[in-house]
Structure formats: C-alpha cells, structure tokens
C-alpha cells in the first residue's frame, strides 16, 4: 500500500512541476483578434433561439430585435418601432417600424415579418404571452395593426421580449438552432450544449459590437475553476462559494440581479380553510411585522448568509422601473423596534429572551428551499438576527414543493425576480390569494391597493401602468410600506470571474439563476 501511495504522490508532484511553465499565450492571442471565450451557464448554449417559442424571455436575446426593448436602466424604449399609437379603449395598437432594417442574411425586414412572428408565436401556444391578442395585420410595408380582445397594457412588455423572425427563412423544426435575426449578433457555429460561436451582424442598424467573435461555452461547476486557471476562459459564471478563489489574471466582477429574497408574513390569524391550515398567529400581528422590518440588520444577514453577495432592500429591486423607492428606510433600528413590540403588549416576562403576549410566545417557523442554499442560509441568518428583538424564528430546510404549499401558514423565503409588474398583481392583489399555489402567500388584502393594481392592469398606456403600480406600493396613505406583508431582505449579486484586461463597461441587471445575464451589455465589451 505504502509503495503505491508513494508512487501516486510522485506522479502528482511531477505533474505539478511540469505544469509550472504554462503561459497565457492563448488569452493574449484572443485579445489581439478581438475574441473572447465565455462560460455563462446552460441557457445560452441549449439552442432553441426561437423567439416565438419564448427565447428572450429568460435572458437577453443577442440575435433578434423586437419592436421595443429595455434600455440599460430597465426602462422600455422603442427599438424597431418608430411610432406607437394606442386607441382610447386600449384595444388597438398601430405601430410603425423602421425602414431599411435587414436580417443577418441581408433580406429586408418588413411588416409582413412582424405579422408572421406574432401569428407564429400565438399559434405555438407557448411561453409568449399573447392570450389577449385577437389579430395582427400589416397595413402597409412598415405599419402593423394589433387588435386585442381586452385592454392589456403589459402587451407592450411582450413586444419588448419577442424578437422578430424572418418569414422567408423560418422553419419550425430547424429555426431554433439557426436563428436569422435583426439583432447585433449572429450565430456562425452551434453545437447544442457545447458551444456557440457568434460574430457581429454586419447588417445591424444600431451601434455595432466592439468584439469580433464570442465563443460561448458551458463548463460545469466542477471544471470551471480549472478552465479559468488554465487561461482558456475570459468570463466565467461561478458559484458564490468559489467566487473568492484567487486566480492570476482574473478579477471578481459582481452583477446586480433583480432577484430579491423576501419572507411572506401571513396577515390573518391561523384558521382552517377547506381543510387546510392558513394564516399565522404571530405574523398576523402588525407590531411583529413592523418591528422585524425596521429592527433587523440586513447588511449583517447578507454577510453571514451570502458571503456579502447581496444588497439590502425593503421592496422589489430598485433597478426595476416600477419599484417605489419610498419603501426604503434605515434598518437596524433596534430600540424603535422594541418600543413598537412593547407598546403592542409583547413583553418578555419570564426572562427567556422571547417576548409573550396573552400567553403566546413570539415564535414562528420560516422554511428555506432545500435545493437553494442561498435562500436557506438567508433564513438562518434572519432567525439569528431577530433574536435581539425577542422574536424567535426557527429556520427549517424544506423541499420547495412542500414549502410553498404550506406557505400561507408557515412563511417561506421567496426569490422574487420578475421584470414585469404583472408580478405585483400576483403577489399583492387580494383576488390572487391561493391562486396557482404560490400567489399572494401573505394573504394581503387591502382594497385601496387592489384598486391601484386594477387601475394599472386596465391602463392603456405604459406610464400609467408604472405610476399606478408605484401607488399600489405606497400612495401616501396606505400600502405595503406600512402593512408589511413581506419582509424583504436583499437582492442577490451574481459573481463572475473576468479577465483583467477585458473591459465589460457598465453591467446590466439581470436574473440570478441565469448565468447569461452578464451578456446583456455584450455589445459594449472591449479589450483594454
């Protein structure tokens, strides 16, 4: 046995010695040619680059362009569209599009392609939300008329995520792997789940990308550090646990995500509904919710649970267009929080560190999704942090399917990460309690908030939508700012290892789970 061990050790040592002489030739070669190699998660190389089947909804779409787009501040702006006229009842959209736009194959993009794209997406009955689109027709070569069967302002959002596909080159079975779009990039080689090679689309009408070639890989968690160390990858999506690894020539770059962690605090007392327990006797007390909201120290929770990769928040991500900043306050106001609790009758009379009111102890359970360590850790750190307020929280790891099912009774740690304010309707409107298992888990029921939400959903123009959704969060009188249906903790930051010499410019903001979020601004990347 010893001999064998010695032999193996020698082998490993030899191997290490031999490896000392490696160089970074490959990366300087790429720098010279304006090429980069990136590994940014599975989604970008799994194929199916077909917008009519939902490509572009879960991440940026470098290959197509749509009628609208989100700019770098996450605000909607016109892209292919030059003029948008909405009828007074919100049922008709007449959109004029740019002339002289060409697909990457050189053929012109006209209103026919737009009609074809929307019709195909609707017929596909897939992810693209066109449930309310009645019909779409071309008025002339550069004007399209959309008719809805219900006023539905979020329709504009769909026009921002749905890239236009060419009618002349679209075949349902093959298009997904050979996209031909009007976006800044085009695919020149693609191997499913292996690598995607893309180059700038010389026919793109906007500002052209600075890089000459981007190779996208998906190297798994196990091999990614090795790949980065060997100098073969310039931008790598890494686990937060590995993110502090020191790699020569690479630096840690952090992207803000819109994913916000929040605990739902059921607002009604525990009772049975159709044989299921709902409500929570502790969180239904307003004093408990308010005390937690201002009393906990979010910075400390982030440090303990997420290695510091988070940003404190008291509402949806501040990077979203429709988030009301008025909800942001200073936290860690322990004295004030204790005052609120004591005024409401929560006093620790038996000296065990936990407050009681009418013989009930201020203790409740929060579940953390078992296959999302970040969320569970946040629940644990929150529990620890609430101790100083005399509130005992028990953090419990639980399978998500179970945790969300009982969430109206036992709160859980959510990750809210939607660009669309439609999410607000699902989480805050009273009609949504119990819908789709997960909707409105706080059982929030505020008629005035409901009114604002409905005003937003039935609005005919986007500015009203945004304004009403902001009022629904706080209109100066009432709203979640004072009701605290959710205890917001933080938005999550996503770590990447990036080559020192690569300048990524101002990063966009994206979702946590999809490593490809960082490519949102890939057009502006450049070698220093």
């Amino acid at each position: 046995m010893k001999k064998l061990l010695v032999f193996m050790l020698t082998l490993v040592c030899l191997a290490c010695l031999a490896g000392c002489g490696k160089s970074n030739d490959a990366s300087s070669e790429r720098m010279k040619n304006g090429e980069v190699v990136i590994s940014v998660g599975k989604y970008m190389i799994s194929g199916g680059y077909d917008p009519t089947l939902g490509w572009g909804m879960w991440g940026p779409d470098p290959f197509h362009s749509g009628l609208h787009r989100y700019n770098k501040d996450n605000k909607l702006e016109k892209d292919l569209a030059t003029d948008v006229a909405v009828s007074g009842d919100g049922l008709e959209y007449i959109i004029k599009i740019k002339k002289d736009v060409k697909f990457s194959d050189g053929k012109p993009l006209t209103a026919r392609d737009v009609v074809f794209t929307y019709q195909t997406a609707k017929d596909a009955k897939n992810a693209v939300d066109l449930a309310f689109l009645e019909s779409v027709q071309a008025i002339d070569d550069y004007t399209v008329k959309f008719t809805l069967n219900k006023a539905w302002a979020p329709f504009i959002e769909t026009t921002a995520t749905l890239g236009i596909v060419p009618e002349h080159a679209y075949k349902k079975d093959t298009y997904g792997d050979n996209p031909i779009g009007s976006g800044p990039w085009k695919v020149i080689s693609f191997q499913k789940e292996q690598q995607l090679i893309m180059v700038p689309n010389e026919n793109y009408y906007g500002e052209k990308p600075k890089l000459k070639k981007v190779t996208v890989l998906n190297i798994g968690e196990d091999a990614i550090l090795a790949a980065v160390k060997s100098g073969q990858v310039d931008v790598a999506f890494v686990n937060p646990e590995y993110a502090n690894a020191k790699v020569e020539g690479m630096k840690l770059t952090v992207m803000d995500s819109i994913d916000a962690f929040a605990v739902n605090l059921p607002m009604v007392a525990e009772h049975e509904e159709n044989g299921v327990l709902v409500g929570n006797n502790i969180t239904s007390d307003l004093a408990i919710r308010q005390a937690l909201n201002i009393g906990i120290n979010r910075e400390e929770i982030i440090k303990n649970a997420l290695n510091g990769f988070g940003e404190p928040t008291m509402n949806f991500s501040k990077d979203l267009d429709w988030t009301n900043e008025a909800l942001t306050e200073k936290d860690n106001r322990v004295e004030e929080a204790i005052q609120i609790l004591e005024n409401a009758g929560w006093i620790d009379s038996d000296g065990d560190g936990i407050r009681e009111k009418n013989g009930v102890k201020a203790t409740f359970t929060i579940t953390g999704r078992s296959n999302d360590l970040q969320r569970y850790n946040t629940a644990v750190a929150l529990a620890k942090n609430a101790e100083k307020l005399g509130i005992k929280i028990e953090a419990k790891s639980m399978a998500w399917s179970e945790a969300r099912k009982i969430a109206k009774n036992i709160p859980t740690m959510w990750a809210f990460g939607d660009f669309s304010p439609q999410a607000y309707y699902s989480y805050f409107h009273s009609s949504q309690i119990g819908k789709n298992v997960i909707n409105n888990p706080a059982m929030y029921n505020n008629p005035i908030v409901d009114e604002h939400i409905m005003a937003a959903m039935n609005a005919t123009d986007w500015n009203t939508v945004v304004a009403e959704f902001k009022l629904a969060q706080w209109d100066g009188q009432t709203g979640p700012k004072v009701d605290i249906p959710y205890l917001w903790i933080c938005t999550v930051k996503v770590p990447y290892l990036v080559n020192d010499k690569l300048d990524l410019g101002v990063l966009g903001v994206n979702e946590r789970g999809q490593g490809m979020g960082i490519v949102t601004n890939i057009d502006t990347w450049t070698w220093k």
Binding site: A127, D222, D418
Partner: protein, 325 residues
C-alpha cells in the same frame, strides 16, 4: 443448440415487452405523483397571464386526467411517435438521438477499455497470487472501487488538463472551432479523459472477480497435471485458464451496463461532456413526460440488451449450460 437459442431469445423478447410496459407505467405514475407542476416550473422567473398559462397547459394536455395522458402517449408510441419534448420543444426521438450518440461513444470506449484492462489485470494478478505485482493490482482495484467517479474526474482534470495540459479540460470539441472543422482525432482527444475516468472505476469488479477465479484455476488439479506435463506457464494459462476465467468476467461486464449509465451521467457533468444525463435531469425537474419516458424506455432496452448478450455468450462459452438446458 440453434433452436435452444431461438426459444431463449423469443422468451426474452416477451419479457422485454412486459418490462417496458411496466417501466413506462411506473415512470409515468412517479412523474404524475411528484409535486412538480410542469407549467409552474416552465414559467419560473417570468410573469405571464393566467390565460396564457391555461393555453399552454391545454396544448400540452397537462390539464387532462393522468390515465388519458398515459393512454395518449402509449397509443402514439405504438405507432412509432415518441411525442414532443416540452422542455426542448423538439421531437423526443431527435433530442435523445442528439445526445445519445455522445453518451454511447463515451460508454462504449470506456466499457471496452475497462473490459480489456480489467480482464488482463485480473488474470495477471491471479497468476502471481501473493507477489508484489498482485498486491499492487489488488490495491489499485480496491482504491478505484471506493473512489467516486466525480472526484476521480476532478483529480484527473487538475493533473492532466490544468497542470500538464495533455488533455483538454472539458467539452467534446476544441474551444472556438466550428463543428465542420473538428477532426476525429480532436474528438478522441476530448473523449480520452472522461473515458479513462469512467473505465478506471469500472475496472475493479472485473479485476477482483477474475483474480479470484484465476486463483481457483491455478490451484486446480488439471493445472497441476499440465504443469507436470511440462507446459510452460503462459501455455497453461492460455489453454486451460482463460476460457474458464472468462465466464464471470463476461457476465459481469455485460451486466454492468446499468452502472455504466449512472457513471456516464456523472462523468458528463464533471467534464461538461454533452450527453443524455443532463437531458434526463432536466426532464425530471421540469415534468417533461414524453422525454423522461422516452429516456427510461431507451435505457431499459439498453440494459436489457446487455444482460441478454451476457446470457447468450454464457450459453456459447460454457458447455455446461448447454447440456443443462
């Protein structure tokens, strides 16, 4: 002997059909009973109106009763239609064949490698029982059987890919090269590390079983007789040893198809090698019935074939079995 073989095979085929029916039913039942809501899993992270969700659900028949869905799938299957994958939005057969070719290549190479190496090591180890060489081989087998595939994979990557740079770190083709320009040599180069990883862990069982059998064989009277007749060691082993020893090795090796499947999935994840593994995981997590059932059926056929071949070879190699039937 021919008739015997034919009845044997046809009996096995009937068993296969029953097996497939059972497997598809059980997999389907498990998937339906699992708490995963495919629509919910699909729309994670995007806000979509309930109306659109209903449209998608109806299109993929998630709103139908399970029995009806199974029946629909089964009747389609009988007419050769494997259905469409909800996750990949492509025909199941196309998804599987895309991925299965890489997995199959990986499995075949590592399987042959571990068979040849394992058998040779086992024979040598048995011949030199108790000597240093035998002890080394024995230790190697014991260490490798207790090494998890993914750990071994990471170790090999660190040594041979990162430090020595003899082999590429991951993937099945060179970085930055178009598919058309990739040569077979490059493909094999990329296949080497995952295949070696997978075969090292597959070697041990064969080595240990073959060694045991070889020792029995070496201590037998007929070996003693052959030795007395003056046959040299290698002639003895060749004439009287190998055939006897081959039987357990062959059975074991063909029956190991099932483990090979599991190992390949792990190796694929370590080396970011494209294959069926990730597709099956995704199908399970997203409630993609057609793809999961397709993969289950295919792997069942594959494992079954392995066992069938083992059984047939058994009949051919071992005269005792022929007489007995």
């Amino acid at each position: 002997m021919k008739n015997q073989l034919i009845t044997f095979i046809s009996k096995q085929c009937i068993r296969l059909v029953l097996l497939l029916i059972a497997i598809s039913m059980i997999s389907f039942a498990l998937l339906v009973m699992s708490p995963i809501d495919p629509i919910d899993a699909y729309f994670t992270g995007v806000a979509v109106s309930d109306e659109q969700k209903a449209i998608v659900s109806a299109y993929w028949q998630f709103d139908r009763p399970p029995v009806e869905r199974y029946w629909h799938w089964a009747t389609n299957m009988l007419s050769g239609n494997w259905g469409d994958s909800f996750v990949y939005k492509a025909p199941v057969l196309q998804v599987i064949s895309d991925k299965f070719t890489s997995t199959l290549l990986l499995m075949l190479v590592s399987w042959s490698l571990s068979g040849v190496v394992g058998f040779s090591l086992g024979v040598i180890s048995g011949i030199y029982q108790g000597k240093t060489l035998d002890r080394c081989i024995n230790y190697f087998a014991l260490v490798s059987v207790s090494t998890p595939v993914f750990w071994l994979g990471i170790l090999l990557v660190m040594v041979f890919a990162v430090e020595l740079q003899w082999f590429p770190i991951a993937l099945s083709t060179p970085i930055g090269k178009s598919v058309e320009d990739v040569t077979w040599l490059e493909r094999l180069h990329h296949l080497a590390l995952p295949a070696i990883t997978l075969s090292i862990t597959g070697v041990s069982a064969i080595v240990l079983h073959t060694r045991e059998k070889m020792i029995d064989c070496m201590n037998s009277n007929y070996m003693l007789f052959a030795k007395a007749r003056g046959e040299s060691l290698w002639v003895r082993v060749k004439r009287h040893g190998l055939r006897n020893v081959a039987i357990p090795a062959v059975t074991l090796h063909f029956a190991s198809f099932a483990e090979l499947f599991g190992g390949a999935v792990l190796a694929e994840s370590v080396f970011s090698y494209p294959g069926l593994g990730s597709a099956i995981t995704l199908a399970g997590l997203r409630g993609d019935v057609a793809l999961l059932l397709g993969a289950a059926i295919l792997s069942a056929i594959f494992v079954f074939l392995g066992n069938l071949i083992a059984n047939i070879l058994y009949i051919i190699i071992n005269p005792e079995v022929q007489g007995g039937r």
